[in-house]
Homo-oligomer: 156 residues x 2
DNA sequence: TTAATTAAAGATAAATTTGTCTTTTAATAT
DNA sequence: ATATTAAAAGACAAATTTATCTTTAATTAA
């Protein structure tokens, strides 16, 4: 019925976040995972996910190793320090929480657009949340079974 | 540097909001405006903006009249009752504030994704803001000169 | 009634995002 | 060294969003 179907993040970013969380959960078990396992677990197209992984590794969010026994991982130190905002910035940029709500080139406190003040709190809350949320807390929530990356089967 | 460049709303929605506000300001002066004036004022592509206007008129947000002296307008009653959420829903749908933050099909209080609680407040705030913001307050802010739809020239 | 005006509708095209496939590079195991 | 494994890189294709163009329908003015 509507013209578009817009989510908070792009598909690429959704895959990136889900992949990062899954890899982090596996790294906490000391296991590297290949792209095949990643895309299978997070239910995403494998080649496209591979592209996203390249961005994440280039940005130092995920580490990768080629060859036998290779795959993706997040180090014990990295998983603590990496924030959600790093993943979002690398894939979708910062315009979701920095840009003007209605797309004006110039929009600031001194020259605000009509929705500037209405969006202020939302932008701030989004920025704060992304800045404060660590990959570790997201991964540990999945590890503990409190949060999910996919729909559970009946027998799980 | 980043992979995408994602804003809060689609271009279509940005144009739709800007157009609605501009038309409302003109309607408060009792003046109908044509698509040419609209796209010129809000700095948007004319034919594409025309498409967006069709969506807004179909959804009863903007009224239109064909022929000489025709154009777009918002009635005095409508401008008071129309909320930002109606424009967003008509163009971008409700997924920005209803959908899962990382795109899971199933994501709820009983089966939450890892970022479910983090996104909760943001979704709620966004929904509240969109639901409470009227076209009238946005338009009157522009009328009073407090808020802007475009960059001012030196001599204005 | 005819001409002029303006939005609506439909077809088409460009740009961007998403998704796929093939080749290359790097690491490990034998 | 050679074969195998797995990510990186690059080329390509499909889908979606954005943008344009043309024709039609409705309204007003003469």
């Amino acid at each position: 019925m509507e013209f578009n179907q817009l989510y908070m993040f792009s598909k690429a970013c959704e895959y990136g976040i889900r992949a990062s969380i899954f890899i982090a959960t596996k790294s906490s078990e000391g296991v590297r995972v290949g792209i095949k396992d990643v895309s299978k677990e997070i239910d995403s197209p494998e080649p496209f996910t591979a592209k996203i992984m390249q961005i994440l590794t280039k940005n130092g969010i995920i580490a990768s190793a080629k060859g036998v026994g290779g795959g993706f991982e997040v180090s014990k130190e990295a998983v603590k320090s990496i924030k959600l905002i790093q993943i979002v910035d690398a894939i979708d940029g910062n315009t979701i929480y920095k840009g003007c709500g209605i797309g004006l080139k110039e929009c600031s406190e001194t020259h605000p657009c009509p929705v500037h003040n209405e969006f202020k709190k939302i932008r701030e809350l989004l920025l704060t949340m992304l800045t404060n949320t660590t990959l570790e807390e997201l991964a540990s929530g999945v590890n503990s079974g409190d949060f999910h990356l996919k729909i559970l089967n009946k027998n799980e």
